[in-house]
């Protein structure tokens, strides 16, 4: 499974540790809420809303250098609106990896 990294954040921070810490805290907080909302709306069969949170999580993947996961999630994001769940399993399996990575920092 693909692993998150800090290369993008390090690149834009230009060594500003305070910025890096603040951003990672915010990402952690946002991601937790987005994951909760994704599962909530999925359970309610509200795929439009679920898609909205998949999109936001996809953005977090790109910040955390998860390029392959980003592409896979892109397909899931497009398919879920039609009630199709292509790549759902992969998407759901990467979420705890992202959270674990952020919480360990």
């Amino acid at each position: 499974m693909e692993q998150p990294n800090l290369s993008y954040i390090k690149k834009i921070s230009k060594g500003e540790i305070e910025f890096e810490q603040t951003l990672l805290e915010i990402i952690n907080e946002e991601l937790s809420g987005e994951i909760d909302n994704y599962y909530k709306f999925l359970q309610e069969n509200n795929f439009e809303k679920a898609k909205f949170y998949i999109h936001r999580i996809k953005h977090k993947m790109s910040i955390l250098g998860l390029e392959k996961s980003y592409e896979i999630t892109n397909v899931f994001e497009k398919s879920i609106k039609k009630g199709d769940f292509k790549n759902k399993e992969y998407f759901e399996s990467i979420l705890p990896i992202m959270l674990k990575f952020l919480q360990k920092l």
């Binding site: 834009i12 915010i26 990402i27 946002e30 909205f52 999109h55 996809k58 953005h59």
Partner: protein, 241 residues
């Protein structure tokens, strides 16, 4: 250059502000988590550029663009490649940045905004400084280049225009002018109802005719030849009894 950020994700706004720090002469003056807050701000403040997320709940970036009354330039920020075509349907959209935003790509977008704003400023200044000409004045007069001066001639004062090699002689009631031009060129500038080419070397002001013979017209004291092919047209244009 003043800019604002509109994005519902705090992390995205923070990243954009961090990237913008590295761009000289760009000042992010405010950031908003929703479009309505930004609209309120824009009602009272002027900015040069908006960094706008397309994908927002309730009120999307495109809804926001359509609500702007005096829109500044917009740089769209999104995690979606799919909106690029739709984005550029809006004239105010200057660029489309894919998240996560890279500094060099961001700098290019800012350069585009600066260039477009500069071109628009120059165009505005040019239009502002152009002399305002009354429509009637341009209809009734003709400016001719004589010794590097543009001399105004009232069209109604012209009696005859005569071709003289590479020049034309404009005969008016009071004065004659020699101008480097051709009969064809000046004919295009003259009102059709007032002037008629009666000969390959003469255009006359119909209103100045004193009398007509078979193959000539008298204007002032000048007898102007009328060629056979133009005679019928001349007669057609006269109010014959």
């Amino acid at each position: 250059m003043k800019g604002i950020i509109v994005d519902d994700e705090l992390s995205a706004r923070l990243i954009l502000k961090q990237v913008a720090i590295n761009v000289p002469n760009l000042d992010i003056v405010a950031d908003f988590e929703n479009a309505l807050q930004a609209l309120k701000y824009l009602n009272k403040n002027v900015v040069d550029v908006i960094f706008l997320d397309i994908h927002m709940p309730d009120f999307t970036g495109f809804d926001f663009i359509e609500s702007l009354k005096n829109p500044p330039k917009v740089v769209l920020t999104t995690s979606d490649r799919n909106f690029a075509l739709e984005a550029f349907e809006y004239k105010i959209v200057v660029d489309y940045l894919l998240k996560p935003i890279e500094l060099n790509r961001f700098e290019k977008a800012i350069e585009k905004v600066k260039t477009i704003n500069l071109v628009e400023d120059v165009t505005r200044t040019k239009i502002k400084n152009e002399p305002k000409v009354k429509a009637n004045e341009t209809d009734d007069t003709l400016y001719v280049n004589i010794d590097r001066r543009l001399v105004k001639i009232d069209l109604s004062s012209i009696c005859v225009i005569e071709a003289k090699g590479d020049y034309i002689k404009i005969i008016t009631e009071n004065k004659n002018y020699i101008v480097h031009s051709s009969l064809k060129k000046i004919e295009e500038k003259l009102p059709h109802e007032m002037f008629l080419k009666v000969h390959r070397s003469y255009v006359i002001n119909i209103k100045k005719i004193i009398d007509i013979e078979d193959n000539s017209v008298l204007i002032n004291k000048d007898v102007i030849p009328v060629s056979r092919v133009n005679r019928n047209e001349l007669k057609r244009r006269l109010n014959l009894l």
